[in-house]
């Protein structure tokens, strides 16, 4: 009985201590919650300066935002993808981010006042450079190649990277996209529902190439000291994706949320990104990047559709993809 009273007392104490610390609730994609994702490091770094409790709530972002609607419990949402922000914007739940985005270190200019990028990357095909010694140097070269390369890609209906590939092909080939897919089809070993299955098939040697990011080799170099993975760089330019953060207008912690928004663009946050996310930080000077990231080859041009274009092109492009591959 005594123990019970003691335990109850401790719990009460803990609750009242917590009640004094303001809580910042941020919805994030699942990878944030992982010990290997950027979440824990960001939490430690921000809590060191905010005297608050930063809590990430992880899961599928868009369904959750749409389901909760105006009763959303988040103060901010981090990790939205550039290709699907149209629906998020149309909810009207988001307030302007209020940060100066003129000095971002991204290959494109950023003028969106609602959503602010915190990381970005180029899509790309990753291959084993001990097996493929003559990698394609353009999308055309890949599509028309006589080599019997087998590629794994992701399904644009279930995966964001699959959607990025769909838009990349569309931005390179326009009206000829379906013809390009038909020529690529014999090289496509299979299509997976998510990125992990595809990448696993590549590292297990089942596929010669996998659709991923140009920064993927950095993981193998830095974490495994494995130099055999490279990304093929294409002349036409690479489709890029950025991950975004948005501030919820109805937040009950507006100052704290603003503090978090400006923390996003500081070096303390941005230096976590390369190894937390294996992508490029949105605002970090080149010389502050890890050495491996500085040496990664980069494409000559970044391709990115606006959210309206991406939303308008998605269904017709998907029809072309299904017609070309669904035989």
């Amino acid at each position: 009985m005594k123990h019970l009273t003691l335990a109850a007392g401790l719990m009460l104490g803990a609750t009242s201590a917590l009640a004094e610390t303001p809580v910042l609730t941020v919805y994030a994609p699942d990878y944030f919650g992982s010990e290997w994702g950027p979440g824990p490091a960001i939490e430690t770094a921000f809590e060191a300066e905010c005297a608050c409790d930063l809590q990430f709530v992880t899961g599928d972002l868009m369904p959750r935002i749409m389901l909760e609607g105006s009763r959303i419990k988040a103060d901010a949402v981090i990790g939205l993808n550039t290709d699907v922000t149209k629906q998020a914007r149309e909810t009207g739940l988001f307030a302007p981010h209020g940060q100066d985005t003129r000095a971002l270190t991204m290959p494109i200019e950023w003028t969106d006042e609602i959503f602010m990028p915190f990381n970005w990357g180029y899509s790309g095909f990753v291959y084993d450079n001990t097996k493929i010694t003559n990698p394609p140097t353009s999308f055309d070269a890949l599509v028309n190649s006589d080599e019997d390369w087998k590629i794994v890609i992701q399904d644009p209906r279930s995966s964001f990277s699959g959607l990025a590939l769909l838009l990349w092909v569309k931005s390179v080939y326009g009206d000829d996209a379906q013809a390009a897919w038909e020529k690529l089809a014999p090289k496509i070993l299979t299509v997976t529902a998510g990125w992990s299955e595809a990448y696993g098939m590549f590292t297990d040697g089942e596929a010669d190439m996998v659709f991923s990011y140009t920064t993927s080799p950095a993981y193998h170099i830095m974490a495994e000291e494995d130099l055999t993975k490279s990304a093929a760089i294409f002349e036409e330019g690479h489709y890029m994706t950025a991950e975004l953060i948005g501030k919820i207008a109805s937040t009950d912690q507006p100052e704290l949320t603003d503090q978090f928004m400006s923390f996003i663009l500081t070096d303390a946050f941005q230096t976590i990104i390369p190894e937390g996310n294996w992508s490029y930080p949105a605002k970090l000077d080149f010389e502050k990047l890890p050495e491996t990231f500085q040496t990664l080859p980069t494409p000559p041009k970044a391709l990115l559709y606006s959210e309206e274009e991406a939303a308008a092109l998605r269904d017709p492009a998907l029809e072309e993809w299904l017609s070309a591959l669904g035989r």
């Binding site: 699942d30 990878y31 944030f32 919650g33 992982s34 010990e35 290997w36 994702g37 979440g39 990430f56 709530v57 992880t58 899961g59 599928d60 868009m62 369904p63 959750r64 749409m66 389901l67 909760e68 009763r71 419990k73 699907v84 629906q87 087998k150 399904d155 209906r157 279930s158 959607l163 496509i188 070993l189 299979t190 299509v191 997976t192 529902a193 998510g194 990125w195 992990s196 299955e197 990448y199 696993g200 098939m201 590292t203 297990d204 040697g205 089942e206 596929a207 993927s216 993981y219 193998h220 974490a223 294996w278 993809w321 299904l322 591959l325 669904g326 035989r327």
Partner: protein
């Protein structure tokens, strides 16, 4: 007195069935309500429905057809390592899909062992990608499960029957006609239905091994409707289509099934005099050998991939394993409470009402986890924070998901029990807990243990409804595995997968073993 026990168990069974209905049709209704009704299906969607049904029917038919000779061989042979083999054969069923895909590819893939052997022999390597790849994967998952359930049917034929058959000079063909076929006619339709339904909800495996978008199932369309289009009305409609597939398939199967009770015996070890001939011995050895080779190949590759790092797994993975263990314990107990009460109700209700309760028990396999998760979210969100309830919800959903499998094990056993001991119990005035203690539990031990084992193994491996309910503070092992994969750490993921499979098998073994203690009373 007996009447009271009967009424009570019928009420308990009805309550369990109501909970299952709330989790399946209730969540579907909640999604439809949130979406203001059901959407419409396009021509592509109907193509997906057709593909889903026929690949599932083919997968289930092949799995069951192959399982019958394997189960018969296991039922009539005793050999060293037999029970270990039976336990290990349960592994494919509980593998996380990504792990299973990579394991299968290591054997049957472009650079897998089979292709290596073929090219060494100067032959063209085979391609796994296509409808045959999907069937191969689904048979890999479900053949062992079908074998286990059908074997259970064989073991339910009392040893005394085989003794009598032997003394009457029955040949193997006579035994098959008189004893085995009626049992199969009773057991096989239910097994077929369960496997058919599992295969209708497959999507990652079907897509990856099917080689592309021609292998699209309804579940993938639901996933797209949720994650990309956020079209809840379409998701709800597709979810309803899945339930309708379940209802139609269930109705057909119940029509074909011929319930039989093989009577009761003293649970002695079975000796099969009629199957002593050399030809039959060779035939059984071949069946067991081929099945073991087919199933153990990819499993061995998974062990080889994972074994190196399994003792160097970080602490967080062990913590996740611990979370999984107790979620599994809770959901297994819940599942057995649901299953036993429903099985008792099925045996005591009229055949129509009993079939209804049993049919409801199948619904959770056909229900899309995404629809269920979203529906629960819609129902809970106005009243409580869904994230803080993530573990209890996971436990209940896992219990419901495992229920159809536990029911497969329990329903035939309870029916035999009622047929064999019902009248005696009534005449002795045994009812209530005394009846459970002295009659039901000892007689149902094997089925209870097997059912609990299935429930435990399934709960351990299930990702359940994490998409909307994941709690970063409380990570389960499948979730940790999924996150390792997403963070490029495929080696560690392989080791975590091995840990997961080992824990699942251990959970299965403990429960199943518990059910077989002192079995020769």
């Amino acid at each position: 007195m007996a009447v009271r026990t009967g009424t009570l168990s019928v009420w308990a069974g009805a309550a369990s069935a109501a909970l299952v209905l709330a989790l399946t049709l209730g969540t579907l209704g909640a999604v439809a309500w949130r979406a203001d009704g059901f959407g419409a299906l396009g021509p592509r969607d109907w193509g997906y429905v057709w593909f889903t049904v026929w690949q599932a029917a083919a997968s289930a038919a092949i799995s069951v057809a192959l399982a019958i000779p394997v189960a018969r061989a296991l039922a009539r042979r005793q050999f060293r390592g037999r029970s270990a083999l039976i336990t290990v054969l349960g592994a494919p069923f509980i593998l996380p899909t990504i792990v299973a895909i990579l394991g299968l590819l290591a054997v049957f893939g472009r650079t897998g062992i089979v292709s290596d052997i073929l090219s060494w022999a100067g032959l063209e390597p085979v391609s796994i990608y296509g409808i045959h790849g999907i069937l191969l994967a689904h048979v890999f998952f479900n053949l062992p499960f079908a074998t286990r359930l059908i074997l259970q049917g064989w073991l339910s034929i009392p040893a005394e029957r085989f003794r009598l058959a032997a003394s009457l000079g029955f040949s193997a063909i006579d035994v098959a006609r008189v004893l085995e076929r009626p049992m199969l006619r009773d057991v096989v339709p239910g097994v077929f239905l369960v496997i058919f339904l599992i295969c209708t909800t497959s999507f990652a495996v079907a897509l990856a091994l099917g080689g592309g978008p021609q292998a699209t199932t309804v579940e993938l369309a639901i996933y797209q409707a949720f994650r990309f289009d956020f079209n809840l009305s379409k998701a709800a409609l597709l979810g309803l289509v899945q339930v309708m597939i379940c209802v139609v398939a269930g109705a057909l199967v119940f029509k074909v099934r011929l319930p039989s009770t093989s009577g009761v015996g003293l649970d002695r070890v079975v000796r099969r005099w009629e199957a002593d001939g050399l030809v039959l011995r060779l035939q059984d050895a071949l069946c067991i050998g081929l099945a073991a080779l087919f199933l153990l190949g990819p499993l061995s590759m998974i062990v080889i991939e994972g074994i190196g790092g399994v003792f160097r797994l970080p602490g967080s993975i062990l913590e996740a394993a611990w979370n999984s263990i107790w979620v599994t314990a809770v959901s297994t107990i819940l599942c057995m409470v649901f299953a036993l009460s429903m099985a008792l109700a099925v045996s005591r209700l009229s055949s129509g009402a009993g079939a209804l309760v049993e049919g409801i028990g199948f619904l959770t396999i056909a229900a899309s986890p995404l629809v269920m998760g979203t529906g629960l979210f819609v129902m809970i969100f106005p009243f409580a924070d869904p994230t803080s309830l993530s573990l209890p919800i996971t436990a209940v959903v896992n219990a419901a998901m495992a229920l159809p499998f536990a029911l497969r094990a329990l329903v035939p056993a309870v029916r035999d029990l009622q047929a064999g001991y019902g009248k005696l119990s009534v005449s002795l005035g045994l009812s209530g807990f005394a009846w459970l203690r002295w009659v039901a539990v000892p007689r149902l031990r094997r089925a209870l243990g097997f059912g609990a084992g299935l429930a435990a193994a399934l709960s351990m491996g299930d990702l359940g409804v994490i998409a909307l309910f994941s709690n970063p503070e409380l990570e389960t092992l499948p979730l940790a595995l999924f996150r390792l994969m997403g963070a490029y750490r495929l080696d560690q993921a392989a080791s975590a997968a091995l840990l997961l499979v080992t824990l699942s098998l251990l959970a299965f073994w403990i429960c199943d073993r518990g059910g077989r203690v002192n079995v020769d009373v």
